[in-house]
């Protein structure tokens, strides 16, 4: 191979601009640059490291039942690790004198851990806070604003307080969504008690309680094992269109103007939380709506034709 040194230098990105100019004139450059640049387009799958790390931990738990490592390390270290995750996901932990708070901005998801090692996943534009001083393992209490998925470790009473109502459990997995006039609780494991105004009811796995503008509805035999937003999808099961647009605004940090759209339309389906164009298509196309993106503003109107 002629010019071998030069080619290697070039691929390593070590060439000076002058050298590069000379090199570009050679016959070799044309053919190798084609090989080099097309090879760059090959795309291995990008990993979601948060998810793969969780899988890794399951694998670790499964392989090392033997006394080796893990357990002794997991006490406060795990708690520290959770804090790092929270920071990594550009959330911030506010160590006020006695409050732990985690909150997410538009389009973010954050994971955090409570003093009892229960896990919490926060959806976009949500916040939770825990009072560290009054935390008591026999009466666990969390304040939530927005939407979150809880994996509660077994133990005594665990209560999630939201402005719309409260949820009480022992050890279980469930999702709470509280957005203005919308309040929804879905149970994935165990039993969940929901208290909303004067209503009190108990949810078992696969059951969902929803209250929109004071009108309550219960659904049973849902099959999903985790809320879809953990996989960056927002899903709706017959939800008024306005609330769907609200969620979209939270996921993408945009302003949606949809005054001409009939607010009585209910939407069943979902959208992707990472690609705005795609998300708009998946909501607008089936409902025969048109959208126009203009910077941070999106205008949605009924399809004229």
């Amino acid at each position: 191979m002629k010019n071998e040194k030069l080619i290697l230098k070039w691929l390593n990105g070590d060439m000076s601009p002058e050298e590069l100019d000379t090199f570009k004139k050679t016959e070799d450059y044309k053919s190798y640059s084609k090989i080099a640049s097309y090879a760059q387009d090959l795309q291995p799958e990008q990993l979601n490291t948060v998810q793969t790390y969780q899988e890794l931990q399951q694998r670790l738990d499964a392989t090392s039942k033997t006394p080796k490592v893990i357990k002794p390390n997991f006490g406060w270290v795990r708690y520290a690790a959770a804090a790092v995750v929270a920071v990594l996901l550009s959330t911030y932990f506010l160590f006020n004198s006695d409050e732990i708070q985690t909150q997410t901005k538009f389009g973010e998801i954050a994971q955090t851990q409570l003093p009892d090692e229960s896990e919490v996943f926060l959806n976009a534009k949500s916040s939770i806070s825990v009072n560290k001083k009054s935390w008591d393992n026999s009466n666990r209490m969390v304040n939530l604003n927005g939407e979150a998925f809880f994996k509660v470790t077994k133990g005594q009473k665990f209560t999630v307080e939201t402005p719309a109502g409260s949820v009480q459990v022992l050890g279980t997995q469930f999702n709470v969504k509280e957005r203005d006039s919308y309040f929804e609780v879905q149970c994935y494991e165990g039993r969940v008690q929901v208290i909303k105004d004067t209503d009190t009811l108990i949810l078992t796995p696969g059951m969902r309680y929803r209250n929109i503008d004071g009108i309550a509805k219960q659904t049973t035999s849902l099959t999903s094992t985790e809320p879809s937003w953990l996989d960056k999808e927002s899903e709706f099961d017959a939800v008024p269109i306005g609330l769907v647009f609200d969620e979209m605004q939270r996921q993408f940090n945009i302003k949606i103007e949809a005054a001409q759209v009939d607010q009585k339309i209910v939407f069943k389906g979902g959208f992707n939380n990472t690609d705005l164009e795609l998300a708009l298509k998946s909501v607008c196309n089936p409902l025969n709506l048109d959208y126009k993106i203009d910077g941070n503003a999106v205008k949605i109107v009924p399809n004229a034709s």
Binding site: I7, L8, P44, A81
Partner: protein, 172 residues
């Protein structure tokens, strides 16, 4: 001998940072070897399990090399070997391409197919070095470090890989 927490892989926080920094590169490396995404991830995870299990014995500075070596060893233990064929990034949006001359598009397609075939025909040693440089954008020095080779050896593999690719692709 007490090392700092930030260099102690038995500390979960350190371990997690280490994982987050290198898992993608390690998985890609495994992919260049075995050619199957699921298997590549499996090998990589297994290697990280090994690191956790031996966390006390691994020098933090050598951990990265240890990771790649472990993947390589695990790979050698896997009997099933796939032909390594990678996929191009999907061009989901068709509109922005439609103005292009169909002949050009056809040629481009053909070139991609040829290149992919040629990459699959490289030796394992050539392929991993070439793709780590091209796809992961690593310098020869970094590759040498990861694979525990000399920089000279990496350069040698790189240049034989290029020569082989050029030879295999007709009319370039």
């Amino acid at each position: 001998m007490k090392s700092k927490d930030s260099e102690n892989l038995c500390k979960e926080q350190t371990y997690k940072n280490f994982y987050t920094s290198y898992v993608q590169g390690a998985k890609n490396f495994a992919l260049y070897k075995c050619g199957d995404e699921a298997q590549a991830l499996d090998l990589t995870q297994e290697a990280f399990v090994k690191i956790w299990q031996n966390c006390a014995d691994i020098d933090f500075a050598k951990a990265k090399t240890y990771l790649f070596t472990t993947i390589n060893n695990l790979f050698l233990n896997v009997i099933k070997h796939h032909k390594v064929v990678l996929n191009y990034e999907k061009n989901s949006v068709q509109e922005d391409r439609s103005y292009q001359d169909p002949e050009y598009l056809l040629e481009e397609q053909e070139f991609k197919t040829n290149l992919n075939q040629a990459i699959a025909n490289l030796t394992e040693a050539q392929r991993e070095v070439f793709l780590m440089n091209r796809i992961d954008g690593k310098k020869y020095r970094e590759i040498a470090e990861d694979l525990n080779l000399s920089i000279k050896a990496v350069e040698k593999r790189m240049s034989t890989a290029l020569a082989s690719l050029r030879e295999q692709i007709p009319n370039i």
